[in-house]
Symmetry: D2
Subunit: 404 residues, 4 copies
């Protein structure tokens, strides 16, 4: 039995009206420094450069994911009854903590450092940390169980699916939240209905047939958010320059240049970083470093950082053939620029369009009105059509606008 708070604590939230906290252990985790740190990491990387109000943090998203899981395991009777209190708490904690390891500009930064936020998340939960001590205090096995729900090794796969599967709390929150904070309407769908129609059948998370339209709507919302927000060419230009800047700094260090910004250095060395180093390198810290880069001696690093800080982004062009790239490469070189940093490609294969991932463990199942459980595309004309749709590809190259 886990201790409850004297009265339910609430956070006002534009997406869920209120995020409600009933258990003391949840409350303690929220107040732990590793969780508070998420206030200093934005949810969306470069999107704020296109949608100027997309400035929300991973802190609010994490609370949102927790809230959706909470609603699922407490208000959806079938799911509530299928899980023990221990499992319910485990999965709520997994929802709350699943993004704990995120650092600044994860997408680009991790691509350079090779250190994934999943790894760090696991370490924070399992190694010495405020969070770890709170969990261990709750129950000896809890930290391990929470971590295993997050990394999908937990014996009860349903728990992982609630947090991040196909119809999962993670995605539902970020679609609704990112839609709200960008001010677009593309990400909206009827979450309440999906939550009401989810069930556990044959050991699988299934949705009742009456919820299919909401699921179709959710899949379309996901598709639209990807192309309208996450894959917006200008946001990708920002990300591409970020990636180039981090790469350049790593190269400078490798070439023996002296450090410009110490808190970033440990990440550039292919070594395991300490959790303390991770805590320190939040987005404010990284931005400060970028400010130092704008004044540094290396003209490439200086220019790339300046472009990010003052929003002088690269222009872009669709790539139809290799020739397009070669022509532009020539231009870049003629302008005296290093194409490794001034001609950035970003192919569709890196960012595939997958409105609905068709791999076995990620099927969405439907509980049909005849009692059978079928895979979603068998019951939805829309989803079936989308599965057979050809990939939408978008292969672009980015380069200084003056070269166009």
């Amino acid at each position: 039995m886990f201790e409850k708070l004297n009265e339910i604590k609430v956070f006002r939230d534009p997406i869920h009206s209120y995020v409600k906290v009933e258990y003391k252990i949840i409350w303690d985790c929220i107040n732990a420094r590793e969780f508070q740190r998420l206030r200093r990491v934005r949810q969306l990387g470069g999107a704020f450069i296109v949608y100027h109000t997309a400035e929300h943090s991973r802190f609010s998203h994490s609370l949102g994911v927790y809230e959706i899981v909470r609603q699922l395991v407490s208000e959806n009777r079938e799911i509530h009854n299928a899980l023990s209190e221990y499992d319910r708490l485990t999965v709520m904690l997994a929802g709350l903590l699943h993004d704990l390891g995120h650092g600044p500009y994860s997408h680009s930064f991790e691509a350079v450092t090779g250190i994934s936020h999943e790894q760090i998340t696991g370490r924070i939960i399992l190694e010495d940390s405020e969070i770890h001590r709170i969990l261990a205090n709750g129950s000896p096995s809890l930290a391990k169980d929470v971590a295993s729900v997050i990394d999908k090794t937990h014996p009860n796969q349903i728990l992982s699916q609630l947090v991040s599967g196909q119809l999962d709390a993670d995605r539902m929150d970020y679609l609704l939240r990112d839609a709200y904070f960008t001010g677009t309407t593309y990400g909206e769908f009827d979450m309440a209905r999906i939550l009401r129609t989810l069930q556990i059948r044959e050991g699988k998370l299934t949705v009742k047939e009456s919820g299919i339209h909401s699921v179709e709507d959710y899949i379309m919302a996901r598709y639209h958010m990807y192309w309208q927000v996450y894959y917006h060419p200008v946001a990708r230009s920002y990300e591409a320059i970020l990636h180039a800047m981090f790469r350049r700094y790593r190269e400078l260090l490798e070439l023996g240049h002296e450090s410009i910004f110490a808190p970033m250095d440990p990440f550039m060395k292919n070594e395991e970083v300490s959790l303390e180093a991770h805590y320190q390198l939040d987005e404010s810290c990284c931005n400060y470093g970028m400010g130092l880069f704008t004044q540094c001696g290396d003209p490439i690093l200086r220019d790339l950082a300046d472009r990010l800080v003052n929003r002088h982004l690269f222009g872009y062009q669709d790539v139809e053939s290799e020739e397009d790239v070669m022509l532009m490469q020539k231009k870049v070189e003629e302008a005296g620029l290093d194409p490794r940093y001034y001609l950035l490609e970003d192919t569709a294969s890196q960012q595939p369009y997958v409105p609905y991932h068709k791999d076995k463990e990620n099927f969405v199942y439907v509980l049909c009105s005849d009692g059978a459980v079928r895979e979603l595309s068998k019951c939805s004309v829309i989803v079936s059509a989308l599965l057979n749709a050809e990939d939408k590809k978008d292969y672009k190259m980015y380069f200084p606008k003056e070269l166009d």
Copy 2:
């Protein structure tokens, strides 16, 4: 005649749907580094600590103020016709640029440094800067005129009132925007109706009688936002500690301690700071400094910074009499703490409740159906009642929770 863009540029915005830019000079100002910098300064100080999604920047607010002014001078026929194109552009620019001088955590920071953001705003517009060059390029007198609208010395007082008077673009945007991003409903009112009913009569900005209810609603929205959001005791606790931390750092420097974070130092010396120093000290930079403070040698500065970063805020208590303060002061001292930093008072007289400021130049005037122009409280039962209401005071003291 000012140059127009080939096609109207738009920013998606949750408050105004779209922010529309027609003039090249507006577009250029938005892209100037001094304006882009506002992306790195949050709109609300400590409120994000209470309303976790209140993470929006002064950049988006500034665009919003511009958009409201734009609507007023282009879609409200009476106001459009009353102003020349030059004046319309002047006032749109004033709306866009009025917050240019804001730095990190302005409220607390300025109280310690004595450097107001209004001063800095004026300097950026009038001294050497990208913004200044863009304005000067548009017309020789433009920078001066924009600055004078902002500091209210412009001969046509209507222009200043549109930007920041009583029914002004600044306040309308921040109330709606802060309501949206906190997720409260308190700040909502029918802005479209107010904009439609504003007129210029007898040289004054007046609202048509049919718009009175919207104005009453706006005044109540303001009142509620102040008490629910801006004056929230927890937000004030955060601000009070911020103020104490900045004070402590200044004191350390004054006492001859060596610098801990150089970018902050020039602001602590009662000297005029360079604009470059101002540009550099954005919120990321300040947060990085706060991170350094958490590791510094001074136990007071270290503790205060740690409380802010990891959200171990002070508790609070209403102050009924001086005795309350003296009792608590004793407790603080007994605990070995310095009351100058560990017992922080925040009296109502600093933050008076003024739903509607009754000083001459700030009257709201109503164009009554009989053709007369009367001051608002003469026409509104509600406003008249509020004017006679006693001040709502809230005198609190803040101190470490463990002392309670």
Copy 3:
């Protein structure tokens, strides 16, 4: 113990997202003919003539009131625990059924017939009807108890206050619903917060101090809705003509003219009408009768009905003195019109502005943070000011536009 449905039934509702039904007896009442009849009675009388989308029915409002009561007695723990299951069901039923006796255009119609909807509501619940049989089936005392909650004679006054007191389900639903369907924003307030902060203390329904701002907002919402929607001069013109039309028809019958529309006749005779007569006279029926009036022989009745059907409403003028009325009366008479039907007055004393009714049983009480229970105006600067505000009066006369 009352029977529950196999699964919770829901109605999609724009105000409450879903109206949820768990008990079979609630479900049965909704499906009873007397309740279904409310689909054929609009919620707002003449307001749809001003706000063209205000076409919603008393059916949806009744479901909404039920839903608010349901949330209060099931989700607000304090209230839930203070009431037995029997009382909870009683008050939910009272919320659902409180408007059962409404007929077409109640305001004007009842003023002519002298038969109040409250009377009819009581009779439907207590006399022979589908609703009565369903209640009697549930428990022998239930019909009587439900009726007594509605007419406020129930020993537990809390129950009546939940349905219609000061912070009551009835008003909260209609303010939000009417705001939604008129498309205004004036009626919005934070209902969720009020519901969360309601408590029973010292035998009174009280609101926690932290909910005061929501209550202030609710009181202002009520004020604005009254003046912007319910008391809109054009809507009152429509109501005034309705009233005159019904009056004229009654007069014709009294003068011995033959019946024009039989279903309306029993209501015109100062006798008790049968429930069957009531059921038959829904709004469709009344509108059909009005259509017949437009073709009848009496020029006054014909003209008044035509004005309503084809929206040729009366104009209006503020009445400053009795002289205004007398002057207009002369004009009306000179035009050969009968002032009893062509000069309609509507004084403020009939429609007083009461943002917050200060009579003993209708106090709103606040549970202050010091534990004391105080009347609202003692704790709210706003409410206290409003109580001392002078009455807003609006005395108008209505007459054919061509006379102006």
Copy 4:
């Protein structure tokens, strides 16, 4: 040159904020009795039986269609410039008046009477009516031109497409409006963006490539609204019984029974009805007639009417094979019921799923970034997939629940 009003008149509207009227002729048409009559015809037939708040009228929809057309021809610069003032007014009037001929429960009623609302619309505009006189007054050719835009015989096909084509004002308004009034979110899409990206190219209405996602969203909204609202099985049950009731009444008249409700009779005789007869038979009138049916001598008509009034609808079952129908027919007959009225089929072929109609004149064209104009499915992976999707069929039979 058409006369303008002294000041712009506005209608508050929840979908478009305001409906704005600038031209006197528009204002006069709105006040004509034939247009006011649309207040007494609901927009959605049986859907209000499922979505209890779907009680809005064709009046508000008609205003909405007008407003969208107005925005297109006045705020979309390209379309504004491509049309003369006369054509702009013609198409705004066509939007306003396109539903003028609708009667009560059009879908079922017209299927029985064989009189289409399109016919009536044309007659009202072209024959003697208030509307006709207003149009004729404006310009001698105007009535004819407005009618030809509505019936798609106008030489400039663009005008018809703006009102009802593929990306048309009619559909955009009803999707958004029906979504709002049902309280679902399925019908939402970014109309503002579609309106901004529409252009006329190569004599075709085209959408700029940047608007494709909004169009995809709109197509999905349409699909969802059809299956979630318009084709909801319970709504179809209501419509099927309505149809059977009207059929039964026609049969009774044909068999020589005496009239039960005279205003309905002319429609049952395969003769041309007078416009007066049409005006009289609004929804209130029809409902009154239904009330009379519930008390008539014919047991079938009486029962069917009673089912509609008191919501005792038929149950339903999917039809997999003809055998299903035959089995049920036997049950119906064994119960002593006439299968012509108690076994109602409703096949998918009547209500096909067509998210995007692929017939030549109804193509949506896209103005691609390379300057070419292509049909939508060539540019949209989603639309192309949907075109190849198999038809969603839904073949149901309806019958008294007790037979199940």
